[in-house]
Amino acid sequence: MPDLDVFRAELQSWLAGNAPESLRGRGSSALDGVWGGRKWVFDHPDQKPWLERCAGRGFTAPTWPREYGGGGLSSAEAKVLAQELARLRMPPPLIGFGLTMIGPTLLRFGSEEQKREHLPRICRGEIRWCQGYSEPDAGSDLASLQTRAVRDGDHFVVSGHKVWTSYADECDWIFALVRTDPAARKQEGITFLLIDMDTPGVSVRPIKLISGSSPFCETLFDGVRVPVRNVVAEIDGGWTVAKALLGHERSMIADAFGAGAGGTTRRQGLAELARGYLGGTGELADPLLRDEIARMEMDTRAFLLTVQRSRDAAKAGQQPGAETSMFKVHGTELNMRRNELMVRIAGPQALGWEGPGFDEEELARTRDWLRSRGNSIEGGTSEIQLNIIAKRVLGLPD
């Protein structure tokens, strides 16, 4: 395709002059990424110019329309961009929920004013977004949420308590589900509302986990005045927006498993780890551990083959198969099993919280194990996932 070749050539020459050498190979894990926002501090001097240059070309959001700060690229062109960035091993210039969640939501459901107000600032990394969904009394049963938004002229007055808001203490704006009609059926009285975290009455408390500090926070709203123009789609019509976003989130998680995230691809082999603690060469001295390690590897492989099968089917132009519905529940459980096995292999050396007598890897592995207990809960519990499989895939009755 000649146009695509021209695009690629131009892109390559632009990258040659604009992609800082210092960032090449820097990876794209959450720890290294640029999340942006008013409070953001870059940890490498070349990240800011890289972000600004990409934002100037709309490359932070390649397929979004140009008038909102995106690149206006077709999906084929966006693929070319991704390939060229991968070739140079450049990290993405910007990451975050603005690009992955609220941006696509505004493009689909937002008003023209909302798109013009928020999307360009997302694209430039000026505003960082978090998600306000779960509440202490509304987890799996999200629709039972109670954060109240009472109409007062041109504003809603918001009071309530959101929990598990990732990075709320570092974010500028929050998209939240609030209850605008307590009398209606629970899904029908919910509104999708955009709230500036700097508004008086918003406060944030970090949540410590059993594994130590985490990006999670509680976000409290105490009589927060939010302009009615910050409602996305219809008042009381927020559940539709939320469902679309949840579906989008789920396919992102499925894709992430496809790309090898979710911890199912590992750096150090289990057998190698075991040898470190058991000693010896050749056959592992503990036959039960040997069996467990083999089982872990084999189960992981069967899962990866299933992910591959699903990708092969997609490439062959087939509809996503039923097997994709098991990625979250099974992928997380494999990850948890693996973390558990690694801790047991280390024996008493896995008992360190911090300090002397434990090496960095041992401490990290133990924290990872503790943190991984949350994998089967966050993003839709395993129990909910099994319910969904039973209903949607197996057609079992309610």
């Binding site: 083999a294 084999m298 591959q308 099968r309 092969d312 097997e323 098991m326 099974h330 319910n387 079992l396």
Partner: protein, 380 residues
């Protein structure tokens, strides 16, 4: 390696499923058993399957085959597995047929493979002995050198379709200790050979099998398949393919048992509700679904790796066998449990799926055996 079926494979799958659904319902298993059928399968149906080209799938075109591989054969085996069809694919097309294809002389192949492909000959391979458990190289049956050949003495158990085989491939030890891989020679025997008794065995899964007793059975040097002392690689290669085919059968069986059980969950009413609305059963059914999907991926990968001669083929065969064995047992156990009392009756078909699952699990190495093999092949 693409883990999706090609268009041709999809067409083959559909044809096979339709044929099996129309011509080989699972009730045949009970019928054949109850009337004590001497053959244990239908020779007429076998010929029809030959006519459809199924028997020739993995054999060379020069022998009348299709020159295809395990990928295509697994598509057919899965269809057959859905209704536990008893026709001798495992013994003849896989065990005996692959041993011939991979190890026999050109002359012997030319003599037997076309007849296999046409559905005119049953050939089998003896892979186990009573004290061998899962080790194909545990061979106590011994071959003493004798004028112009050998004398074979020993016992082979559960030789698939041994009671009707026209040709029996029998490993015997020419050298070495009982568990050595080296020193095993593969011999081609005809039924009726003096000193060879063949007794039909009755297995829980109704699979046709026979006990062979050899007492000084005379064979000539020409009856050696492959090289003297070099039989183990042929036997292992045949077992590898048979394992993959068996896994494909298991996949069909577990899928069919699962579907029947889902139907039951949707329709059986107790406490004024379909029992499929009870969350405990929903969750267990969802777990079965996951196990079946993982099994499908493993079978697809193993078949393709074997066809490609991949370095990883042996590991992937072990993965498939371990995964499918455990999944099939899970599904079969759950299927009976979820059917309640009627699941335990002989009259209901679901029990046959458990019997097949167990028999398959305990053939060619169970899951634990294959996990050990995976560890060995992986260097730990």
């Amino acid at each position: 390696m693409q883990l999706v079926l090609t268009e041709d494979q999809e067409l083959l799958a559909k044809t096979a499923r339709d044929f099996v659904a129309a011509r080989s319902p699972v009730s045949r298993v009970r019928e054949l058993r109850d009337r004590g059928d001497a053959t244990g399968f239908s020779r007429a149906l076998w010929k029809e399957m030959a006519g459809l080209g199924w028997l020739g799938i993995p054999f060379a075109e020069e022998h009348g085959g299709a020159g295809l591989g395990m990928a295509e054969l697994c598509v057919v085996m899965e269809a057959l597995g859905r209704t536990l069809a008893p026709e001798p694919f495992l013994s003849t097309v896989l065990l005996g047929g692959q041993a011939l294809r991979l190890g026999a002389s050109a002359a012997r192949q030319a003599e037997w493979i076309p007849r296999i492909v046409e559905g005119d000959a049953i050939v089998t391979l003896a892979t186990s002995e009573p004290r061998g458990r899962f080790e194909p190289c545990h061979v106590e049956t011994h071959a003493e050198a004798a004028a112009g050949g050998f004398r074979l003495t020993g016992e082979k158990s559960q030789v698939l379709d041994g009671h009707v085989a026209d040709l029996l491939l029998v490993p015997a030890r020419t050298r070495g200790a009982v568990d050595d891989a080296a020193g095993i020679t593969l011999f081609a025997l005809r039924p009726g050979a003096p000193g060879l008794t063949i007794e039909r065995q009755s297995r829980i899964d109704g699979r046709n099998a026979a006990l062979l007793r050899l007492t000084d059975v005379r064979v000539s040097a020409a009856d050696v398949v492959g090289e003297p002392d070099g039989g183990a690689p042929i036997v292992e290669a045949a077992i590898a393919r048979a394992s993959v085919g068996l896994c494909a059968e298991l996949l069909g069986a577990m899928q069919a048992a699962f579907e029947r059980t889902l139907d039951y969950l949707r329709t059986r009413v107790q406490f004024d509700a379909p029992i499929g609305s009870f969350q405990a059963l929903k969750h267990r059914a969802a777990r079965e679904f996951i196990a079946i999907e993982l099994s499908r991926s493993a079978v697809l990968a193993a078949a393709r790796a074997v066809d490609a001669g991949d370095d990883e083929a042996a590991r992937l065969v072990s993965l498939a066998k371990a995964q499918c064995s455990e999944a099939a047992i899970l599904v079969a156990n759950e299927s009976i449990q979820m059917h309640g009392g009627i699941g335990m009756t002989d009259e209901h078909d679901i029990g046959f799926y458990l019997k097949r699952a167990r028999a398959a699990e305990l053939s060619f190495g169970d899951a634990a055996w294959h996990r050990r093999r995976w560890a060995e092949l992986s260097g730990y």
